[in-house]
Symmetry: C2
Subunit: 335 residues, 2 copies
DNA sequence: TTGAAAGCGCTAACAT
DNA sequence: ATGTTAGCGCTTTCAA
């Protein structure tokens, strides 16, 4: 917007340095077969002219875009506000930072967004894709899995096992949480689930049922939230109405647990004396609820990091194995 | 990864349709000067072949990348975990979605990240940049403001007035908050500031001082947080130690307010009876603290949206005016 | 309305 | 070690 002066081109650098364009190109990509003298001449010319390679031209010539995309599928743009994603992004960024790849973000939450993502998948606008939080049995899953660019899934969609994915051990974590409740002597254990059209939501419900089946306890005390705070609060009310004497709840996300805690307090019940609570995610805020929340830690940052690593590996021609990241129980005061 | 079949090129489409490449190109960009017959022939060929234009080639020819970047500067990658940014992203996305522009995310939080952002600014790897949360007097500010691609600032950095920015009325909001405290009859009013090396942090402190100066009250009860929950908690402790009889605190972010509320409860003080609290940001969680937090609402989604709009306007050759978005007091129970 | 041809700026295979 | 040459796939004058 200031000086409308064009960026210098490689040819200009070559001319200035008194060498051929290919020599200049070699120097810039530090390829071999260039004499010391020319090498330095080119370097000087680059500095003098302030030359920077044109990324687009390079991309066209090499057939490599130099960018990967993190796509969040879903039906609600606001979903991205979940702190979960922010941490995934930070994890992804931490490994991309070591490379020359840029990160594109695709919030495929509207019809238009979905269409753009599909197109992106087909047009090689990026060298690789990380795809998260597919809902229902989104046709995108199959499409992505056989796209012409490498795709890594974050979490497993329902009814579909992608070739390359990294997921947290949601089922194991839920089981851990529920077992803890059982061991503590609780007998009327309920659960508030997340969205059951998501792999994670369903897996956590299954883990809950696994544990109760083993313990020989009733596992039909179920209500549904949507991972949000208000959803948790509402679900807790319904549960309390149906089963006033429940003595524990496994809640599939910390946000919902915060809501449930609120409802429990309003109903005059004390936690954990009357009702024990275990959440899921171990968000920073879980530390500061009243009482502090016992929850399942899920390595979110690592999830992002490993997705990016797996994508890199795929892009370099390897065939990495799917990864399931461990979850663990974090004991605080609510159970 | 499945069929290694190349995407069809424009030439192939043209051949199939029995027209020249330029005719095909015109059809695809729905340019005029193509007969109805040819137009349809090309359309058919496109469908048959599943042709999709190669974005990179187009970018090279048009000198337009088709992507803009949202850059978050700073010294800590984890900073992005602030829910604030997620909402900005959603706002930005909402307007980009209507265009054909992709969004790149640049977390310029390490030295390496900063360097990459600078490079990106110079190499025209994107058609425009939105730059947020510059700390201190980051040299990036001046650099960006005269970069060869359009740049919109989100918030104003310290000591530097960018040409194009959108900001929230932080100073006005802080003043509103403090005035509310004054009107409520409070007389020993303290503040917990955010980072003072950020424009927003400083502006909120000034607003606080503005209000107290007008009211003729002491405005030296100041302690510093870093916008984080723990920072708020610590600052509150120090404040209480120094001035046990303070009767109100304006706190420059809701996260810090949550921490302060905790400290206040531990010290046996009741809110708002003993100490009135006003926060800033109006995060969703402010609704659910105990007591619910009176705070300053800042239109974060709109901030993102307007940044994107301004950038678009700039990219189309206009010279939009800077924008300051209004903030407003949200009354709940803490003051 | 149509098509030929000249780029956009870079890389890479090939010949020297 | 070095330079020549032919692309990468699209847009866009320009002349017909």
């Amino acid at each position: 917007m200031d000086a409308p002066r064009r960026q210098p081109t490689l040819d200009e650098v070559a001319e200035r340095a008194g060498v051929s364009r290919s020599a200049a190109s070699r120097v810039i990509n530090n390829a071999p077969h260039v004499s010391r003298a020319k090498r330095e001449a080119v370097r000087r010319a680059v500095d003098d002219l302030g030359y920077v390679p044109n990324a687009t031209a390079r991309a066209l010539a090499t057939q490599q875009v130099g960018a990967v995309v993190l796509a969040i599928s879903g039906d609600d743009p606001a979903m991205f506000a979940d702190p979960f994603f922010a941490e995934v992004v930070v994890g992804v960024n931490s490994v991309l930072e070591e490379t020359d790849l840029e990160l594109m973000l695709s919030l495929a939450t509207s019809t238009r967004g979905q269409a753009r993502l599909e197109q992106l998948l087909r047009t090689h606008q990026a060298d690789g894709v990380m795809l998260m939080s597919l809902h229902g049995d989104d046709p995108l899953a199959a499409l992505a899995d056989r796209a012409s660019v490498p795709v890594v899934f974050g979490g497993r969609p329902l009814n579909f096992e992608p070739r390359y994915y990294v997921d947290a051990d949601n089922r194991g974590g839920a089981r851990l949480a529920t077992e803890h409740l059982v061991k503590a002597g609780r007998r009327k254990i309920a659960t508030i689930t997340g969205r059951l059209d998501e792999g994670a939501g369903m897996a956590r419900l299954q883990g809950f049922q696994d544990a109760l089946a083993v313990a020989g306890l009733d596992s039909s005390l179920i209500d549904h939230g949507d991972f949000s705070e208000d959803g948790g609060s509402l679900a807790m009310s319904r549960l309390l109405e149906r089963t006033p004497d429940l003595d524990a709840v496994f809640i599939a996300s910390d946000q919902m647990a915060v809501g449930a805690l609120r409802t429990l307090a309003q109903s005059g019940r004390s936690v954990p004396a009357d009702v024990a609570i275990v959440g899921f995610n171990d968000l920073p805020s879980a530390r500061h609820t009243v009482p502090p929340l016992t929850t399942i830690n899920q390595p979110i940052h690592a999830l992002g990091r490993e997705m990016a690593r797996m994508l890199l590996s795929l892009m370099s021609g390897d065939h990495p194995s799917p990864l399931i990241l461990p979850t663990r129980l974090v004991l605080r005061d609510s159970a």
